[in-house]
């Protein structure tokens, strides 16, 4: 049973890593113009994938995003290496997970997401965007990433993650509404 759990966990990590990497590439293709500095965007659509993967797959989702971010940073961020690269990947993967942990502790979100409300989901998106921006920028500030300014870059990153997460969730809702209205008369 333990072995099966481990295999399923590994598959979840692989799936989330692959889809997060694809999401990042899509972001580069479609929203490159929103880039503030490399790694910071005013609109970051894969933020929605972080919300989805961490809420659905929990720690496996966080590890998947962490793994994908290492690959992404190796491919696209030549100035990141060593501990800074690992910390950036950890901020990317575990920012949402820490936000989830915090909201679980506060009783906003149950472990199995039972009774999750739209308000809870939006709260999670806000807290995640704040943690993600904070973890990234503090890591870059401590390790003196070139061209990074904590007090300036934290805002576009927060706004980009929040907007990306909201766009993703509302896009998903649009799809749900559209799929329902196929069977319903237009009202």
């Amino acid at each position: 049973m333990k072995q099966r759990e481990a295999i399923e966990g590994a598959i979840l990590i692989a799936i989330t890593a692959i889809f997060y990497w694809l999401g990042y590439e899509l972001q580069g293709l479609m929203f490159q113009f929103t880039e503030h500095i490399p790694g910071v965007n005013w609109f970051y659509l894969p933020a929605g994938l972080r919300v989805l993967f961490v809420l659905v797959a929990g720690i496996y989702g966080a590890v998947g995003i962490f793994a994908a971010t290492i690959v992404i940073d190796l491919m696209h961020m030549q100035d990141l290496s060593g501990v800074l690269l690992l910390l950036t990947a950890a901020a990317s993967g575990f920012g949402a997970w820490v936000a989830l942990w915090l909201l679980r502790w506060r009783g906003v979100i149950a472990e199995g997401l039972q009774g999750l409300t739209a308000t809870g989901l939006l709260q999670f998106s806000c807290v995640y965007a704040a943690f993600n921006a904070l973890f990234h920028q503090v890591s870059w500030w401590v390790f003196k990433r070139e061209g990074s300014l904590l007090t300036v870059d934290i805002w576009p990153m927060f706004v980009g993650d929040l907007l990306g997460a909201l766009a993703f969730l509302y896009g998903w809702k649009l799809l749900l509404t559209a799929s329902k209205s196929k069977g319903l008369p237009q009202i």
């Binding site: 049973m1 099966r4 759990e5 399923e8 966990g9 598959i11 979840l12 989805l52 809420l55 659905v56 797959a57 929990g58 496996y60 199995g112 997401l113 039972q114 009774g115 999750l116 409300t117 739209a118 809870g120 989901l121 939006l122 969730l169 509302y170 998903w172 809702k173 649009l174 749900l176 509404t177 209205s181 319903l184 008369p185 237009q186 009202i187």
Partner: protein, 118 residues
């Protein structure tokens, strides 16, 4: 059910997440409050009487008059109901079913028949 399985727990969480996303406001065409008002109008039509705007906004069990008036305006804007007046008297407006509303009722009826048949 074995909820220790990462796949199963991920699937169950996904279902919860879908419900939460579905609940998000802002894009709904027809929310639960509007539907409650709409249902009360449908019930009255089924008895062969059209409700007046005054009667519709006086249903305190559904909300205050101001709130119900807003909902009524939204239902009219969505062309689910139409406000008409009889003869020369333009002071009393009656709420009549629209073609869209009829289609909606027909659709609901067909679904209920389907459930009954099964």
């Amino acid at each position: 059910m074995d909820t220790h399985s990462p796949f199963k727990s991920a699937y169950l969480r996904f279902l919860q997440l879908v419900a939460a996303v579905d609940e998000m406001s802002g894009l709904d065409d027809f929310d639960a409050n509007e539907k409650a008002l709409f249902d009360s109008l449908c019930l009255r039509w089924s008895q062969g009487q059209a409700m007046t705007v005054r009667e519709a906004i006086s249903q305190t069990s559904l909300g205050s008059a101001a709130t119900l008036h807003k909902r009524l305006k939204r239902l009219i804007a969505k062309q689910l109901i139409v406000a008409t007046h009889e003869g020369q008297d333009k002071r009393t407006k009656y709420l009549a079913p629209s073609e869209k509303e009829q289609a909606y009722i027909d659709w609901l009826s067909s679904k209920m028949q389907l459930v009954e048949a099964n």
